[in-house]
Amino acid sequence: MKENKLIAVIDIGSHTIKMHIAEISKKKDISPVEYLWNPIGIGRDTLGKGFITNQTIQEVIQSVNKFREVIAGYRISSFKTYITSNIRESGNSDVLIERLRKASGVTVEISEPSEESEIVYEGIKNQIKNRYSFNKKNFVLFSIGAGSTHIILQSKGKIIFSETHHIGTIKFAKDYNYDDKFQFALNPFSMSFQSTLKRFPDIKKIDGFIGINEDILPLAQKIFHDYLTGGMFIVPRKDFNKYFAQIENMSLDRIKDKYQISDTMLKTSKITFILFGMFYNLTAAPNIIIPNVNPSFFNLYKIVFTKNKALKTEIRENIISSALSLGKKYQFDRAHADAVTRLSLAIFDELSKNYDFSERERIYLEVASLLHDIGYFVGTTSHNKHSSQLISSSEIIGLQRTEMNVIGQIARYHRKSPPKPSHTEYIELSMEDRMTVSRMSSILRIADALDNTHSQIVEDLKVNIIPEKCEILVRIKNNRYDFLDIIRNAVKKKSDLFESFYGILVTVEKLV
């Protein structure tokens, strides 16, 4: 990059539409240049009516057109527009997206919940950098938006869990009645959070709690200005709880008067403060960290770092660590999962020399291999189907909802019947995704068959693709080649999909 570049991102949320314009330096530092926002009623319409009204659609179009003028003024040639995944809860989200495209020429990308979590995580990482031992300790990231809340658990620099709840400050504001009923209304939410933390017993304690929200910033800037360091408010527990108690008992008018908070943010900033307090106090983190940055700014990191190879590796690592955590949650056979993963990737890597596989497919295969047997948690019978359902309904940062569905299907077909037209979830996939499912599940079936005994007996393998044959050469542990026939039979039973898809025979021989 010869000189600093200007980028813009428009973020259509539940109750605001925002635009950030930033400058990227040659070192990929992102500096804010402009921030614009307007209120819109998508969340209000969805909650109240179940659909987005014509007036709201017009407001969104108007705001986008105005933002485009500003973008043109800065001579920014390309920009991205994202819309919250909550929009799917309204009955006519497609109408909004299509009308916006026609009226403004803008193509909107719908952010998946996992994508939104990913954006939050990457944003925080870039803000915090190497400070506060972020890459070495255990952190909870608690991001409350207007329509959704993301909880991310990170251990030693790796994401091990992420969860999105489709509830945010708008719904909380609707339920908030200024008395203690609010606390009770949040009980299910806070209990779910507690049980999440307990699910990771190796996380003895949470070292840091990061609270992320836009509306709280004016209040935080007034109350915590002495705690601001390096763009973050780092507030010790005792001090935070002192203010927490005050704010909790202060009327909205009093808060407005004392801290000069504008009416648009007054209620949601108090609610967020209380939510932060409630959830922070469920952990033992010594400090609460509140980044002094508008979370929608994090969308810019997505644009900047999409092509960054180092980041891709990091994202992959986070995906795998989240997958492992998911496996642990469902008490999977770790050794078998690792073995199947190792074997399936070895087959994949060899096949990829002859077939045009994508990096993304490799990740799908890897995750599906790790999680293919988590269905046992539900039941032995048809455990592959349980695995598919558990995977599809889970969230892994770095993978979109559609991708989790694909991985679920890959896991489903690791045993028993290959994909059939009567299988609804399979048929509902796009043609491309169906191809992926068939290709990857065929590999997974063979890899699973190779560890049929769940004893990790195949300690090494080599794959040779020769004309009309896929030769799998195996080294068996302790030279127990008397197991070779068992392995051959298992592979033969499960190579049907592979042979019909790739049109080549699969054989298993001894690796010499």
Binding site: S31, Y35, L36, N38, E69, Y74, R75
Partner: protein, 706 residues
């Protein structure tokens, strides 16, 4: 605790009397006296067009108590005003005939304002009338078949009594009007010899019979109608607003009349006919012993080429911070505070002009309230738009009396490709701000210029105003957000440095005053110094009284209307009010709060008036730099110590001049000398210091060409 307020209208009349005083002040050059007389007349005209019109409308609406001054009915106020105005008019003409005309005569310049003084010039004047003037005259006669003439506001007419004498008279008419074509020929005729100036109406009067063949002229007197000029608008959508203002301007002559001025001696019947047809009462009639419309004397000030009879010209000091450097380099090194007209206004014009042509400039945004007719700033904005920059202009169409000019500029800017908004619905955009966005080696950088005065190169030479150049990120971020707010692109989130009216400014001022009050109550030193054009907001006044009672020392420098009553308070507090009237029109707004030693200084576009705090977009911005604060302190000190131009407000509402004694201090001169010394000192320091070449915070090298 102190209470009570001074009626704002009476306070204003007092202010105009102080202006009028300058027309007779010993020591003022004679043409400057002429100018001040003209200004006092012009001020009075506007006062009738707006303030008296408001009171008359209240009477029409049967409002028994004026909102701006409870306790006195609009009718009672008009009566009081009339009494004061009659006295003021008497003083104006006394000054003109006893002081100014003789004074000019002593210097070889004659103002021949009496008709009989024209006779020696008849040979010169008659051909002028026959060959030039007569063609421009259109008699408008009133008769049985001819409707009464609508007299345009502010224009002079001869009201001519007629008597038909022959059958040659085409129409039966007893009264005719002829407009004095001052727009075409000017108000005064300058004789070819003898350096005399003759009012145009007197020339017409001399030869008026030539216009009315078949009539005998029974009387000929000058009259003038003043009409309500307060345009209140119905719809404020952009296309409608423009059209509505244009229509309102065109229909100005149909608005209600508020005053009739006439030359003394006019026949009662004619006077009665004019006043009846314009729905004026006796209280609205103002007889004049002399020429009408003294505002036009300003034309003489411009026309008479006699520099020795004016204030000695003062060359504005070109700021050292800008000298010898490219403008963006200069403006980007550190914040610069200028005090015009002592400091030259050129850097402001140079900045916008450079921005228009600089290929690295991406966008320019600017507010316009009152501009000059040949504005270099607007020409630069047009050029910038034509050069492909993203130019946004908030052109306040509702700037009273400048509507037409602002409309013209709006059209020209739009034609050039600028994005023009006509202000904000329901509010006047009074903030003065300029924002330039530039792409530099180190990245995007924003430059702002904020001011207490308008972007008007002409008034910048006559009004004293402060302006700040800055690239401070908090300030520029706020101004960027302000423009997004004003153009409707975005709501504002938080203001990091500035405060805006009408959303937050009143509360801000109240908090600042209350903080001083609280400090005083707790036994700590507390002080407020505020300099502004007008102070009449009842809520602010109430808080100031409370502060004074608590022990806050309040020093106010208020040029014009001041409704607060000065005096000592309890606990050592006090309120003092001074007004500076003189060579330059005091226009700057400075607000200082002691804040228990952590002093705060602010500059603003707003006065302490309800209209500023509640009905306008205004801007308050802090001054943090210690040197700039010291500069402001010095200005205030020099003005407070003035003995030549300073008036002190007494508790009874009257102003008295400070007794100079032998200690004569002219703050206008002293401020100029101070600024000149400071700028010279900067030059000396810059020459002597060895400045190392290092990278600055923008990662560029000082001294490196951008």
């Amino acid at each position: 605790m102190m209470t009570g307020i001074i009626n704002r209208e009476y306070s204003w009349l007092n202010f105009n009397n102080r202006v009028l005083f300058e027309a007779s002040k010993p020591g003022n050059p004679i043409l400057e006296k002429l100018k001040f007389l003209s200004i006092s007349a012009s001020n009075l005209e506007e006062f009738f067009m707006i303030r008296v019109a408001v009171l008359k409308n209240q009477i029409r609406a049967r409002i028994s108590e004026s909102g701006s001054f409870p306790g006195e009915s609009p009718a009672a106020q008009i009566e009081h005003i009339r009494k004061e105005v009659m006295e003021m008019l008497g003083n104006q003409y006394k000054v003109l005939y006893n002081n100014i005309i003789p004074g000019l005569k002593e210097n070889g310049i004659k103002l021949l304002f009496k008709t009989d003084e024209l006779l020696p010039f008849k040979d010169e004047l008659e051909p002028f009338f026959d060959n030039e003037l007569e063609i421009a005259l259109t008699p408008l006669s009133i008769g049985p078949t001819l409707p009464f003439v609508t007299l345009v506001t502010g224009r002079l007419y001869l009201a001519i009594g007629l008597q038909p004498i022959t059958a040659a008279a085409l129409e039966i008419s007893n009264l005719s009007f002829v407009e004095i074509p001052a727009n075409v020929f000017g108000r005064f005729y300058h004789t070819l010899k003898d350096n005399s100036y003759i009012p145009m109406e007197n020339i017409i009067r001399l030869f008026i019979h030539k216009l009315y063949a078949g009539y005998r002229i029974t009387s000929c007197h000058v009259v003038k109608i003043t009409r309500d000029a307060d345009i209140s608008l119905q719809g404020e959508d952009a296309p409608n607003l423009l059209k509505e203002i244009e229509t309102s301007i065109k229909r100005m002559h149909r608005r209600s009349a508020v005053r009739l001025e006439y030359e003394n001696g006019i026949p009662e019947s004619i006077k009665s006919l004019i006043s009846t047809n314009n729905r004026l009462s006796e209280a609205d009639l103002y007889p004049v012993d002399g020429i009408l419309h003294l505002k036009d004397l300003m034309n003489l000030y411009g026309a008479i080429n006699a520099e020795s009879l004016k204030f000695k010209p003062v060359t504005p000091v070109y700021p050292r911070d800008f000298k010898g450097k490219k403008i963006f380099r200069a403006a980007g090194e550190h914040d610069i505070l200028l005090f015009h007209p002592y400091h030259s206004y050129d850097p402001v014009v140079e900045l916008i002009s450079a921005a228009a042509d600089d290929p690295d400039v991406i966008a320019i945004k600017q507010t316009l309230y009152r501009t000059s007719s040949e504005s270099e700033i607007i020409k630069a904005l047009i050029r910038a738009a034509e050069n492909g920059k993203y130019v946004t202009v908030i052109d306040e169409l509702k700037a009273r009396f400048d509507e037409k000019r602002n409309i013209e500029w709006a059209r020209k800017l739009e034609d050039a490709g600028a994005h023009v908004t006509y202000g904000v619905s329901g509010l006047k955009t009074h903030a003065k701000a300029m924002l330039i966005i530039r792409k530099e080696k180190s990245g995007i950088r924003r430059y702002v210029h904020l001011a207490t005065g308008n972007y008007n190169e002409n008034t910048a030479r006559l009004y004293s105003d402060l302006s700040l150049f800055s690239t401070d990120e908090k300030l520029t971020g706020d101004i960027s957000a302000l423009f997004n707010l004003l153009t409707g692109f975005s709501l504002a989130e938080n203001w990091n440095a500035v405060t805006i009216a009408p959303t937050d400014l009143r509360q801000k001022f109240i908090r600042l005053i209350e903080r001083e009050t609280s400090n005083a109550r707790n036994g700590r030193k507390a002080a407020i110094i505020a300099k502004m054009n007008s102070l009449c907001d009842p809520d602010i006044i109430k808080r100031l009284y409370e502060a004074c009672s608590a022990g806050v020392v309040i020093s106010l420098i208020v040029r014009g209307i001041c409704s607060i009553i000065p005096g000592p308070g309890e606990n050592g507090g006090s309120i003092s009010v001074i007004s500076i009237i003189g060579r330059y029109l005091e226009h700057s707004r400075i607000y200082y709060f002691y804040n228990d030693g952590e002093e705060e200084y602010y500059l603003a576009s707003a006065d302490w008036m309800e209209r500023n705090l509640d009905r306008r977009i205004e801007l308050l911005f802090p001054v943090s730099d210690p040197q700039q604060r010291e500069f402001l302190n010095k200005i205030i000190k020099l003005q407070s110590g003035d003995t030549e131009n300073l008036w002190e407000l007494r508790p009874d509402g009257e102003y008295i001049r400070r007794d100079a004694g032998s200690d004569r201090k002219d703050s206008f001169k002293n401020i100029y000398d101070y600024i000149k010394r400071e700028e010279t000192a900067k030059e000396t320091i810059t020459r002597k210091i060895f400045k190392p070449i290092v990278k600055n915070k923008y990662n560029s090298i000082d001294g490196e060409e951008e």
